[in-house]
């Protein structure tokens, strides 16, 4: 069972008369020889780590060793002013919570990477809380998101060192958008469109971590990744279709990744990482200062 494109997934779903989560379970069963139950339990374990990481970031003292991150998620979660609604504020705070747990050597589930590990937990826990999504249904949502991630891994990249933050938080936002659409009853075409919109919103996003740390701007891009996921899902669920099909959007992503300068791909040599202030922070907090020339 080969999955190389969204067309493959679409075709398998039609042939098997199955949902995308069922197609992904079948893919994993055939690939690894695990039973269906083992695959589902594996995803359940990931879901539980995600939920735990959100809770830890909102309750524990999470100040990163560099001091750049200092319990930001709690501040947002408890903020008195709501830019939009309370639940939107909470969704963003959850992504930041996991980013802080990650920076403070806490336990997270990389989805698809550690640097972008805030987005899927924020999307899933927000769906559980705001829409009463059950644990079993949330697992199906994660399986849908894994399909999108798999296609990006196959045809572009999720690594910051290869595709910048487009590859990391852009992919996570696309995964999240597809899961939201599925969990709110959207069809496969709408799932595809939501992923397209999310990637389009992150196309060309660079990876320029201050002092080479997975802290700033990573935490803000995780927050914005959640907003991207919900915006993209909202647009797709309204019946608007992506002009460019997902398979082509991912190829465009790969082209942009190749065109991106190595200075903008996790090497801390360009962008925010190369600002005067960032270089000062680097000298202050990091023991070696020859990261970028």
């Amino acid at each position: 069972m080969e999955i190389n494109s969204f067309s493959d997934i679409f075709r398998y779903a039609q042939e098997m008369r199955a949902t995308i989560p069922e197609v992904m379970i079948e893919y994993e069963v055939r690939k690894t020889g695990k039973t269906r139950e083992q695959v589902i339990e594996g995803v359940r374990k990931i879901l539980n780590v995600m939920i735990e990481s959100v809770n830890n970031g909102l309750t524990r003292d999470v100040k990163s060793p560099s001091g750049l991150l200092n319990n930001f998620a709690k501040k947002v979660y408890n903020a008195k002013i709501n830019a939009l609604t309370v639940n939107f504020k909470k969704a963003i705070a959850r992504a930041m919570a996991v980013s802080e747990v990650n920076a403070c050597m806490g336990r997270i589930a990389a989805a698809p990477t550690a640097g972008s590990s805030g987005i899927m937990p924020a999307v899933i826990t927000t769906m559980m809380e705001e829409h009463g999504i059950s644990e079993d249904k949330a697992i199906e949502g994660l399986l849908v998101s894994s399909a999108i991630g798999l296609l990006i891994v196959k045809n572009a990249s999720v690594a910051g060192s290869e595709a910048g933050c487009m590859g990391e938080t852009g992919s996570a936002a696309a995964m999240g958008a597809s899961a939201i659409v599925y969990l709110l009853g959207g069809d496969n075409k709408q799932i595809e469109s939501a992923a397209c919109f999310a990637i389009q919103g992150a196309m060309g996003l660079i990876c320029d971590p201050i002092a080479g740390l997975v802290e700033i701007p990573c935490i803000f891009r995780n927050a914005i990744g959640v907003a991207n996921a919900f915006a993209s899902a909202q647009i797709a669920l309204s019946g608007i279709e992506s002009v460019i099909p997902l398979d082509e959007v991912i190829l465009a992503m790969n082209e942009v990744a190749e065109l991106m300068s190595p200075k903008l791909k996790e090497t801390a040599q360009g962008g925010l990482a190369n600002t005067k202030t960032a270089r000062e922070i680097q000298r202050r907090f990091i023991y070696q200062i020859d990261i970028g020339k």
């Binding site: 080969e2 999955i3 992904m24 893919y27 994993e28 690939k31 690894t32 695959v39 594996g42 995803v43 374990k45 990931i46 780590v49 060793p65 560099s66 747990v101 990650n102 920076a103 403070c104 050597m105 806490g106 336990r107 997270i108 589930a109 990389a110 989805a111 698809p112 990477t113 550690a114 640097g115 590990s117 899927m120 994660l142 399986l143 998101s145 894994s146 991630g149 798999l150 891994v153 196959k154 999720v158 690594a159 060192s161 995964m175 002092a211 080479g212 740390l213 997975v214 802290e215 907090f285 990091i286 023991y287 070696q288 020859d290 990261i291």
Partner: protein, 220 residues
């Protein structure tokens, strides 16, 4: 073809799959190669590992691994204090430019209470995947994706037959075998499909021309 658990996961201690999770794995493998409680560790970090060092918790991750913590163990964060409690002395050296080595590489030398030592070099390839590239001066290349038997023995005729015989006797299937030679010694890396009972290792150890045998188990 990737697994869906390459997308959803791994479960790990942050902040970096290469600089933290992979580094913990390297320490854990060094501990298995020593085969006893380590009392002293000399760790050399190269290239990107040396540059980010404490920023990504690479020091805590490697020391934690040496103490037997896995990449998803929340105690990794406190490993340097735990090392003090357990009486593990450690020191770090940093080498910024080692062009022949992968950007994320570490040399780990461990000693136990009886003065036995092991020295290895490993690289963290990204996404938590690792490669061991040197053991006791022998160039090697394996990833501990499977149960792996590491042997150093005199380079004599029939040694491979005896060792593979001892493994086959217990119906263990050899998946891959790599042999390299340095002067009069041979190094064998044997990857097998399942766990290896202690008696197989004891039997190999009983051969007079075998100097060193260890089993390294994969870390999920």
């Amino acid at each position: 073809m990737p697994s869906i658990f390459d997308i959803l996961g791994p479960v790990m201690i942050g902040p970096s799959s290469s600089h933290t999770a992979g580094a913990a794995k390297l320490g854990y493998i060094a501990r298995q190669l020593l085969g006893a409680e380590p009392k002293q560790a000399e760790i050399t970090l190269y290239n990107s590992f040396a540059r980010t060092y404490k920023g990504h918790g690479t020091d805590k991750a490697i020391v934690g691994g040496i103490l037997g913590m896995k990449p998803d163990d929340e105690m990794l964060k406190n490993s340097l204090e735990i090392a003090k409690e357990k009486g593990l002395r450690y020191e770090f050296k940093l080498i910024m430019k080692a062009p022949k080595l992968h950007p994320n590489s570490a040399r780990i030398k461990l000693f136990d209470l009886d003065g036995n030592k092991i020295e290895m070099v490993g690289s963290s390839l990204g996404g938590g995947r690792i490669e061991i590239v040197e053991i006791e001066g022998f160039k090697v290349s394996f990833s501990v994706a499977m149960h792996t038997i590491v042997i150093i023995a005199d380079d004599i005729p029939g040694s491979i037959a005896h060792i593979s015989g001892a493994i086959a006797e217990k119906n263990i299937n050899i998946a891959n075998m790599f042999v390299s030679r340095e002067e009069k010694l041979a190094n064998m890396i044997i990857e097998v499909d399942q766990d290896v009972p202690l008696e197989v290792l004891e039997k190999i150890r009983s051969f007079r021309w075998v100097h060193y045998v260890r089993l390294v188990e994969p870390i999920l």
